[in-house]
């Protein structure tokens, strides 16, 4: 492929940064649960968001295996059904590998619209698993979560791509 003039090239993603961002997302989820909202439905799931981001941007590094692992961790933390989040994250990561080549051709807001169905599917799988085991639907507020996650997608994209946008050869004028 011939690079057009003026097109920016990204630095390679640091595996340590990927791991740190995933752990931070897990911490953020826990903080929302422990300090801010308790067990309210409709709270955005940052871990799903960051997992989806890395599955789209680095499909060779983060894919279904890690999604499954972080799903199990979330299940244990939330005292949910063991395997509930694991299933929903795995399916979400699979759908992300299907669209990851196409998605990056769009700008932020249209990307957000395209990842919204993925979050919806992930949450719908969770709801179905719970309905099948005899729990009731947590209420209409639960629908807010996928919408918020999709709305946060452009923000997270800018934040997590920032380290890769640094200059490859930093000098006096361009320290970063």
């Amino acid at each position: 492929m011939i690079m057009p003039r003026g097109q920016q090239l990204l630095l390679p993603a640091n595996p340590l940064f990927i791991a740190t961002s995933l752990t931070l997302a897990l911490l953020l989820n826990m903080l929302q649960n422990m300090g801010l909202f308790g067990n309210a439905a409709g709270v955005p799931d940052f871990l799903a968001l960051v997992l989806l981001f890395w599955t789209v941007h680095q499909p060779f590094r983060v894919s279904l295996g890690w999604a499954f692992f972080f799903g199990l961790i979330t299940d244990v933390h939330e005292v949910a059904l063991l395997g509930q989040h694991a299933l929903s994250y795995t399916v979400m990561a699979y759908l992300a590998t299907l669209i990851h080549r196409r998605l990056l051709w769009f700008r932020g807001p249209s990307q957000a619209l395209q990842v919204l169905p993925l979050f919806l599917v992930a949450h719908a799988l969770s709801w179905t698993a719970r309905l099948l085991t005899g729990n009731s639907f947590p209420g209409a507020w639960a629908l807010l979560a996928p919408l918020l996650e999709a709305a946060l997608w452009p923000v997270v994209s800018v934040l997590l791509l920032a380290p890769q946008r640094r200059a490859p050869n930093p000098d006096e004028n361009r320290p970063l």
Partner: protein, 305 residues
Amino acid sequence: MPLGTLDRSPPPFFKQGPTPLTKLLFFGALSLLLMVADVRWGVTQPMRSALSVVLYPVQWLAQRPVVVADKTGDFLQDRETAQRNEQLARTQLLAQAARAGQVDQLTLENQQLRSLLALRERSGITAQAAQVLYDAADPYTRKMILDKGSLQGIQAGAPVMDDAGVLGQVTRVYPLVSELTLITNREHSVPVLNTRTGVRGVAFGEASGAPLLELRYLASNADVEVGDVLSTSGVDGVFPPGMPVAKVVKVERRSESVFARILCEPLARVQAAQHVMVVDPVGAEWPQRPPAERVAPPSRKGGPR
């Protein structure tokens, strides 16, 4: 167009591992298996324990900002609030002191009467204090996580109470933390006794998820009034008798139903408990339950044996 990456090594062309579809089928089947194992067979406890130990440092770290915020809030509390709280604590202490005096005398009297009648001694309560780490994030259930686990001697099934009444029961024990199911959880039930009339019943968590209890299976003409206090009856062999549980807030007697619909409000702070007591279950000292007689299935008449 997508931004290219300045990777130092080319992406693998041929060694790409299993396809995403294979991985999806594998991990999807694995999580379905885990869910069935969790719900039907109940064999996932060792796995949960191991993962919870791995998770504990992360949880501890996530807890820090909350703890700091709480401490700052306590520090910045104004003088009037502190004085009001102290006033409240003093009045409560006075009320309790009067009762405590009575209780000492009544315990002695009870002991003598029981020995006169040659009844079994009432077993004492042993308990240990614990702190609530956080509310479980699962919006479908009412559970809390306590900061003590099997290493500190917490047993599964142990009743938990706060200063006002019964809060729930420990349902899962991990090495470092344990899981408390609140009495308002729809899958939880407590055998209770109406302290006004002495009628026994069973209080279940409200099905709609409101923080209420429902006293089920009482006839629609049963003597229950708004304001009645329910306490544990002690017939279950888990909860010690006489712990306050709930107060009746609504009695609905419907003509089309045999049973009255009785809603009760828990006395314990099920929404905002912080410090709790984990009481050892009382059933361990009880005499063994007689083994259930195995009834032979009736042989079909004339059928081949």
